[in-house]
Every structure is written in C-alpha cells, then in structure tokens.
Symmetry: C2
Subunit: 672 residues, 2 copies
C-alpha cells in the first residue's frame, strides 16, 4: 500500500536509544506545517522568523543556530547558511530571522550545542561573586582553551595557546580571570571550541520561496473570442491584443484566459448551456480538443501559436502577465481519445465515460482516468503540456477543478515544474470543502480561489478573513479574491446595482493582496440566467459576447483608483497585516493594514449596504494601527482625494452607496 | 551527530512520487503528540476518541477504520484490532472510539479506502432519481460483485456470484436495482469488496495505557526514620509498619518514602543544613551510599532488606502502595566512587567533583556523569537498581531532580522498565521551566510535581488548572498536587494557620485526581527556618523528627472526609472534567467536576482567605454542570453533611475559614 511518509520512531526502538542517545532535544522548530510534511510559503524578500525549543539537562549555557539552504535546484542543493539564534528568557525559546533572497525551495533547520566556554564563564563568575576559590575552575578553563586550540587552524591555535599560557601563568586568580574574560578570547572560543554534543532538529522543514506576484497582483479575466469589435463575431488574439493597453491602464497585472485550445464538436453545448449547439455556436472552451489538436494547440478561431506568442509578447511589453487555464479534461473529439484510449474510463460496453457528478453529466466532456494502468505516461504527457506553455512564456496557470484529480498528481506535477521553473504560479479553482481546499494548497498550489463571493455580511467577512490571514492557513495559502467568475454572479451583485459592484471590488482589492474581476464586472453586468441562479444570462461560456468596454455607468475609473492605491501603498501589498476595527453600525465594516514600522497605514471603512446611506461611530483598535488616545491625524481618502481630520481612537463616518460607499483612507499624522 | 528521528520527506523525492503515488491522503490523525514523536497517556478502562481527516479527489464514498494493537510486550506485538469509523459532515472528519483494555503501549493508526460499492450505490440512486437509464451502471455494479467474489472464500464467493447472476438476469432495471439494494449484499460487499487503494496514515502513533493509580491516588510522604515513638531515636521499618494503618485510615493510597539507602558520612549535613554534622546526626537521605552499600541497599539504621520486604507486604495487606525515591546521586562514600571512579566527574587535579548549581555546592553529594565514556555500563547499572526494587514489590518511583539528568537516559530507562513492567509509575520532581517539565513528561514520566504550591490566588489557580487540564498538557502529564514537601513550606501555610491548611488540602484533593501531603501537614506544622524561607525549621531532612501523630489541632478528620469523598464520587477520579464557575467575590473560587452522563456532579466553593469570612453570589455555568435556569437541587456538603437547597444558576455562599472554609458539594437533583 502507498503511504505518505515513513517514520522511524525512537519509541519503537527504545532499546536502541542507548546505542545512539540524543545529547540535546530540539522538540520543535517553528514555523512548521504538519511537522514538515508540507512546505510553508513565502515571497522573495520576506524575512522568516524562526523559533525553536532547545532542552538539555542541567544548567549549562547552550548555543543555537538556524541553518538554511536552497535545495532541489537544477544544479542540486546549495550551500548551508547559518544565523546565530538568541535566547529569550521570557518565551523560553531561541529565535533568529533569516532573509529569503532567492526564489525556490529552501530547507531550514536548527542546530544546538553546549557552549562550554560560556557555561564555564558563567560558573566562574558566580563562584567568584560568592567568594569561592576558583583555582580548579581555572585549570578547567585553561583545558577548554587548549582543546579548542587543538582543533583550530595554526594561527588561531597559536593565539588560543597563548591565552591558555597567560591564564595558567598568572600569579593571582584575579589576573587569570581577567585574561579569561577577554572579549577576543570569548569570540575565538565561541567559534572554535569543540561542539561535541551538536544536535540538529530531527525533521526536515521547507519553505517554498515564490516571486512577488504569487502574493500581490490584480487580475482581469477575459475570453479572447469576445475581444473583437463586431457583435457575434469570434475574436482573435490580434483583437485581444488591442485590449491589453486598456486593461493595463485599469491597473491590472495579470490577464487570465479561459482555455485557448480547440473546442470539441460532439455534444457541443449551445447558448445558455443548452444541450444542442446551433450552427455557429462556439461551444464551451472547457470542452477541449478537436481535429485541430488538444491541450498544446491553439484554437484556430483564435489564431496560431505564433499569434499567441505575439500576444504574450505584447502583454509583456505593457507589463502584463498572461495566465492560462489548465483544465485536465477532454471533449470526445480530443486527439487523446483516438491516440490513447487507455487513458479514459470506459463503460462496460466499451464506450467512453463522460465526466459526471451524479446525477449531473457533462455531455461535452469525457473523463480522463489519472489512475489508469498507463498513468505514468499520462502524467508525463500532462507535464509536457505545462512545460510546453511555459516555453511559450506562460508563468501562471489557473487550474480548473483540481479537486477532481488526484492530490498525488498535483503534488508531483507542481514539484516537477518548480524544480526548473520556481517562478510558476498555480492557482487552484477548487470550490469544495475547506479541508480539501487546504490540502491542495498545502501540497503545492500557491494561490486559491476562496468563498469570498459568498461572504457579504460584516461578521461573515471578519471571521472569513481572520481564518485566511491570522491562522495557519496564511502559512501556505494565498487567497485570490475574484469578485465574480464566468460561473458565479452572486445575488448581492444581481440586486445591489452599481454601488454593490463598487463595494465588492473595493473590499476584494484591499482585504486581499491578490484579487480579480471577470470582464463585464466593470460594466455592471448583473443579469442571471434565471432568478435564484448564479449563472449569467447568455453566458460567455457558450457564446461570443462582444461589449462596448467603455459603456456608460462603468466603474473603470473607480477600479483604476483602487489599483493605484494598491500600487502606491506598501501596506496593501502585505497579506497577514489585516486588523479589524469596531464600527457601532453592523452595516459598516472597518479594517486596517499597515507596514510593520507604521510608515504606511491604510484604513478602510465600507458601507456594506448597497441601497441606503449608513452612518456610525467607528472605534479604532489603537494598538493594531499605531494610534493612541492623543493621536492627531488626517484620513486621506485615496478614492476621492478628500481629507478628514481625526483625533484619538474614534470618529464618525457617513457613507452613501450612491455617492461613495467605501472610504479608502491613508493615515497621515498631523502635528499637535 | 545524534538526531531524534529521521523522516523521509515526500517533497525531497517529488520526482519519485510518480513511482509510488498515494491514492488517498490522511494528513492528520488525532490525538497526536508531536506528530507521533511522543505517546499520549491514558488509563486502562478509558476510551479514546480518534478522529482523522481523509482526503481524496472526486466524489466517491470512502470508508475508514481505526486500527490498534499492543506493542513492545515481552511476547512481541499483539494482533491488530479494527473499529469502523463514521464520517461527520459537520466536522468533515472521521471518528471512532476505541477501548483501552490492557495496560501497556498501544499503537494506533487509521486506514481508508474507496468504498466502491457504496459509491456505486450512491451514483445509481441519484441517476434513478433523475430518471436516467442505468443499464450501463448495472453492468458496472455486477462487475464489482464478481470482483469481490473472486477474492472471497468459497461460501461467500458463491453467495456473491448468485447476487451477480440475479442482477444480470433481471428483466427490468427496477428488479435489478432491488436486488442490488439488498442489505445482505451491502454487508457482504462492505466486507469483501476489493480495497484496492487502501492507504494507512503515514505516522505511527502511540498511547501509553497506564493503570488507574497513574491518574488517581492520594499520597502521603513520611520519613521512616521519624516513625518511632522515642524523640530523637532513629526509627525502623518495624516502627514504620505501625503507621500503615493510621495512614490508610486517613484515606491515603500511596506512601512515598525519601531514600531508604545507607547515608554518606563524609561532609554529612547537620541540623538545619549546617555544614558540619554533630555525632548522632543522621544526615540527608539524599546523600546516598556508605560502607553498607548504595542504591540497592537498605540503611541498616532502618533495618534489613527483609524488614523492607515485610514492610511493603504489610502495606499491601492494608491496601497501601509504597513509592520509593529514585535519586541518581552519590555521597562521597558510595560504593560506586570506589568501584567505578570512571562514572564521576573529576576536577583537573583528579579529585571528584561535588554536585553543584553554581554558586551552590552540595558538599555531601558527588556528581555522576551520565555521559561518561562508560555511560552504557552506568545506565545499565541504574536500570538494574530500578529492576531490583521492582522485584521487591515497588511499582512507583518518585524521581528526584530528573532535569539534572539526560532526557535520553530517562526516555530509555522508562521504556526499558515499561516493556516488562508496564504498571510502574514514574513521578518527576522537576521544579524548572515549563518546557523542561513538559518534555520530561512527554518522554515518559507519568506524573509530575507542578507549581501548585505557588498558585494561591483565584486567577492564578484558574489559569494554572486550565493549562494543566484543558490544553495539550493533559494528553501526557498527570499533575500530582503535593500541598507541601520536605523542601517547600509555602508562605500561605506559614501565616494562614489551620484554615490555610484545610483550604490547600481541599483544593489539592479536588482540583487534581492525584495529590499528596508531606507528613506533619496534618499537624499544621508551619514554622520556617527563618522568615522569608520556604524551608522547615529543624527540617526532617537533617534530623529525626518524631511527632505525636494525633496532636491536638490536627486535621486528620478533615483529610479523612476529603479522601472519602474522592473515593465515593467518580467525578473526582477524572482529570479533564474540571470547569470553573463565577463567584462575584475574587476571594472565592468555584469549580465543578462531573461524569460525562451527569450522574455524579461535584461543586467546590472555597474561600481562599484563611483569615476572614467571605461571602458571595456564585454564578454557575449551567452547560458545564448540566443545570438550567429552572433546575432545583440540593447541594450536599460532603464535609459537614449539611444540605442546601438551590434553584437555577446562582446562589449565595458565606464561608468562615475558622469554621469551614470550603464547601465540597455533591449536586443532588430535587423534584419540582
């Protein structure tokens, strides 16, 4: 049977513990995730605060160091770096801070040993203070110095021997002690004394160090086929190129494209998910594959692979990244069906099985079996596809429904890709139970869609954001707050009008460091296919939807200001610095983000009611935002430019959703 | 270097994950301690509630079972037992309860697999409900049954084949479905279907199942040499035997004896810890060893080994256990010094080192070096000593200052002893930092002294007891609440008079399931050697102290009633059921303990002020004690016998320390 890990447990071999007893116990190093089963995630430029418990009998002074190195790079493992740890009596723990300066996988651990010289120094000081004779202790100290000399390089050894001689030959104990207390000797001994009981923490711990985009970015999703100008006419990559500058000027960093591959014809879905496609219906992009190719091909209706290369080059030129959709599924017309029938699930009559979530059946999709007998070939083919798109400049993959594919597959694939391409970001679109979503993130997905669209009330948002940013989840999962998707148009947006759209994008853009909108959001598209449904009417999944991208009533300017505020305020680029404050009125939510040194502080106060003006006193948690009862400051609204003068830890707000439902304040201190 | 454990981390071998991919992820099984590095502890007769997270892609139905077995017994490992787990949608976890019926070490884990038959049944039900044709699904189901038959024993195989035939031959789908839904078929399939992706949790988890005394007992400490009747005359085991019945009648279960071995003469301490002993001074029992022997010998002044055997036999006859003191240290006269000089630390001039905690020096004790080159011989000799006393009927060892000896030594020794003697209890007397105390408990000590003597105020007690009983500490550490020791006479007792003694022993006896007193406590001995010291005047550590064990003013009757209440009320024999309630007056503490079914409920309300009467309304946490606003009940004081009638969730108390400072109520429901 397959098991995740093996563990040789000391307890099973207590009888052998006497053969190789540990000298020092380092029972825990923090942070860790599942005792090292998973890597925690950080971003290059972060510092990591490592703490450790170190336990030894007696009263000797200990020393400890944190060790870390890059591992699993194309050229193997890097060299170990070490950082001394300092002991805190208050917390009874050792700590050090390491800098994460390179993208990749970092292994870290802690080593500890008895600092014999410091122990000896401490012992002698106490005895001298108590008036004791320390002749014997001085002999012991001299021996420690000579032992160190015996293992040191010639020059250092010479210096140490001279110190030993001086101590030995001193006529009075005070003189000997004076020599023994020389700072240079202390430094030499700290470095060269024998670390005879050096012990390393028993677990291997890892950090996945990612590039900044893994944490911070504004995303915009569009369907390339809808980026033309003629209604109903299938757009191309050339058309999509003309949209790059406008999207960039809105302040977005990433454009996410639904699948760009040829689309199946058999059982093609029609408009509004009808079972029969009419001539001219383009089909769902997620029904991948036809005679023109599969996952490594471009839908000829969009263009050629050269057109795609040109498109992604043009995006790079304006500072945009392109994220592709990785959907591991096939239409019945996909080349794999013909070339690798063994990769698919079959019905007893030999026909291929369609993808299902009983009783739902996806008639335009057949089910790949990632546990088929030939699974290694299939997994390697899927890896080849991902590497193919990476070779065409793609560094971000939004993965469709990963919770329907084996965890082991994702864990393997992501690690394989990261070995040579540590900057690639995988976004998990798994709307499922929390533990499944979290497991996907733990085994490698850098970003995850979340329940954001369904968290609208204040208490819901507060609890949800605390779970994301102030629990263990923040060690491994970056939330990507899409306000809407091609599958999800929440009721709040359906009924709340333009104010609701402003509210939800302002919240997304400030609560999380990574957020996105699905195109049409800026145009306040809010019509469901039927009341009570979260599907769009005339969903772009099943037809070409050309829009006037500057239609009146749009909130493009609003989004621009949000993205500008994000770019210009470091506090909004950090994820775990979110703190909530206390408006009296439950319709109003207030939260802040600040840099650690308080140099940049953002306070958001939002009316969650898209219909009615709401007002409230807001009570601030001073400690969370570096303010005191006597503070005097301006609240500079980065959306409107207005400034308000506040004192202390509370103030009054009134927010009219038809005017501006959200204050995005920067706190700017004023003199007394 | 020595490391605790090795771990083969899947991440280091992501490339090989494709070779042996896990089918199902079982990321966590609870409870665990350090991911299996340590065993949790329970008592025989307990049930253990095991929960597990099980994650697989897709929507198949899973099944899981908990597995457990005794390990490391003299006859090897036992057979695995299994218990099916049930899934909770609310908590998204699997759970089962296992019974711990034998003392020893139990290994437990969780296995999970895809329940193909249940998945198929669920799929078919949904499709039928949606009006779909299920001919193909029936073929699949038939195949599942035949596959199961192929691996089953003849008779079962025959039954399964017949079911398959019936399904296949049914003329209508409804009939086929009816057969497929037969409960007998369901049971057979649950048991015999192929568990082709069965996966076991990757970590080995352990429970140390102890005997009940490890959790529940009242302890009494006396010095055998003081149990004579003639003041100043060294008592013997025969004298001590006469004290067994009175101690038992007080309700105690265990008598703990300081070291009973020959006492060193060199540098023997005199009265009140003076550096020079006068002729006739008996010395400190912790300065172990002289010409008459060491750790496996009996101090001739106490008697012979036969006298000890007789004593322990007499104790057993009245239902008392004897706990010995295990102090791993030697006087300068100990046989080891002469026979194994290599086992001791030496000064540079070759003389033996005394035990120290600089600047303090213990002139009557020399330091064994458990890391000497010959450490294996020394460790094995110490094990031999422990086994020697076990062979003489000792099953409890109170270990002196274990934090001055290597953790690895204790981990090894305790495991070695437990293999053949799983009922032996080791009590750690380590007054040191919390993490060190906890590590000793984690690696094997069943009981621990705690900071109880220094927790006197209400808020201190509440926080302290929550730490002990409502955090992870309760998984591995049993607190032993000694009210006083031969080293510790707390200021509260020094100044608070007889009421203080009643308060502190009532708290100890009810807050913890294991508690003790050091003899003299019942006689209100409360004189320190000097003001501000916690040492007793004329400490029994350094002289014979014969008492009149029934001196006037004693609280023997009080202690009897406390121990009687403990014996007769199951709620007081459970450790983690402690809940606090809310008196308005901070001088009064209120807490309860109850059995899980509420059949036995104890409420303690104590005045912590030993000088003045205190009164208060007490607000009860109804959910914690099975009471409601409309409850009507008697509070039956088990100390005085009085009954008070209460309604609902609050009532009034007045406690006069000079009368009875503590109510020990049993809640007895009354009719409306």
């Amino acid at each position: 049977m397959a098991t995740d890990l093996e563990q040789r447990n000391t307890q099973r071999q207590a009888g052998t513990l006497i053969e190789n007893p540990y000298r020092i116990s380092i029972p825990e190093v923090r942070p860790h995730l599942g005792c090292g089963r998973y890597a925690i995630k950080r971003v290059v430029g972060d510092t990591l605060h490592i703490t450790a418990d170190v336990i030894k009998e007696g009263h000797d002074t200990l020393a400890a160091e944190a060790r870390y190195r890059l591992v699993d790079t194309p050229s193997g493992d890097g060299e170990w770096k070490t950082v001394p740890m300092t002991f805190s009596y208050e917390n009874d723990e050792w700590s050090a801070t390491i800098s994460l300066e390179e993208i990749g996988k970092v292994e870290y651990t802690v080593a500890a040993w008895t600092d014999h010289w410091a122990s000896w120094t401490d012992e002698v000081r106490r005895k001298v203070a108590a008036g004791r004779d320390v002749a014997s202790e001085l002999l012991e100290g001299t021996q420690l110095v000579r032992d160190a000399a015996g293992h040191a390089a010639a020059e250092v050894a010479g210096t140490l021997e001279r110190y030993a001689d001086l101590i030995e030959s001193a006529s009075r104990q005070e003189d000997a002690l004076h020599v023994a207390g020389t700072p240079e000797l202390g430094r030499l001994m700290a470095e060269h004394q024998l670390r005879d009981d050096l012990t390393t923490h028993s677990r291997q711990l890892y950090i996945r160090v990612q590039r900044e985009r893994a944490r911070f970015g504004a995303w915009y999703e569009f369907f390339p086929r809808s980026q033309g100008t003629e209604p109903g006419k299938h757009g191309t990559f050339r058309d999509a190129e003309r949209r790059l500058a406008p999207v960039r000027s809105m302040g977005f960093d990433v454009i996410y494209l639904p699948p760009i591959h040829p689309i199946g014809v058999t059982n093609r879905k029609g408009r509004n998910n009808s079972l029969i496609a009419q001539p001219g219906d383009p089909g769902s992009p997620w029904a991948i594959g036809n005679e023109h190719g599969g996952h490594d091909a471009v839908n000829p209706e969009l263009g050629t692979i050269e057109d795609f290369d040109h498109f992604i080059g043009a995006a790079r030129d304006v500072g945009l990244e392109i994220a592709l959709d990785l959907a591991i599924q096939c239409s019945p017309d996909h080349p794999y069906v013909r070339e690798h029938p063994e990769w698919f699930r079959r019905r007893p009559d030999g026909t291929i099985k369609y993808a299902e979530n009983p009783p739902k059946r996806y008639e335009d999709i057949v089910a790949l079996d990632l546990w088929c007998e030939d699974y290694k070939a299939l997994w390697n083919e899927l890896k080849r596809v991902v590497l193919f798109w990476i070779s065409h400049g793609v560094e971000i993959f939004r993965v469709d429904n990963p919770h329907t594919k084996p965890l082991a597959f994702w864990e393997w694939l992501i690690a394989e890709v990261h070995r040579d391409h540590p900057g690639v970001i995988f976004l998990s679109e798994a709307f499922t139970r929390p533990k499944r979503m979290q497991e996907l993130a733990k085994i490698g997905f850098g970003q995850s869609y979340t329940y954001y669209t369904w968290r609208n009330a204040r208490w819901e948002l507060e609890q949800f954001l605390r779970d994301l940013t102030a629990t263990e989840q923040a060690q491994y999962m970056q939330a990507n707050f899409f306000t809407n998707t091609q599958d999800i148009l929440h009721e709040y947006l359906q009924h709340g009008g333009r104010p609701a759209f402003k509210i939800r994008v302002a919240l997304a853009a400030t609560l999380s460091t990574t957020y996105g909108i699905y195109s049409g959001f800026e145009l306040i598209e809010n019509t469901p296919v039927r009341p009570g449904s979260e599907e769009y009417l005339d969903s772009e999944k099943y037809e070409v939807r050309v829009r006037d991208w500057e239609a009146p009533g749009n909130i493009i300017g609003y989004i621009q200001r949000l993205n500008e505020a994000r770019r210009n305020n470091r506090a909004l680029q950090l994820y775990t610095n979110l703190r909530f404050h206390y408006p009296d009125n439950q319709n109003i939510i207030a939260y802040s983000k600040a840099t650690e040194d308080w140099s940049n502080r953002i306070l958001v106060v939002a009316n969650l009611d898209p219909f009615n003006p709401q007002e409230s006193t807001v009570h601030l948690d001073g400690a969370a935002i570096g303010l005191e009862n006597w503070s005097h400051y301006a609240l500079h609204d980065l959306i409107t430019g207005a400034r308000y003068e506040w004192w202390g830890l509370s103030g009054y707000v009134r927010l009219d959703p038809h005017d501006e439902p959200v204050h995005l304040f920067r706190i700017e201190p004023l003199p007394y």
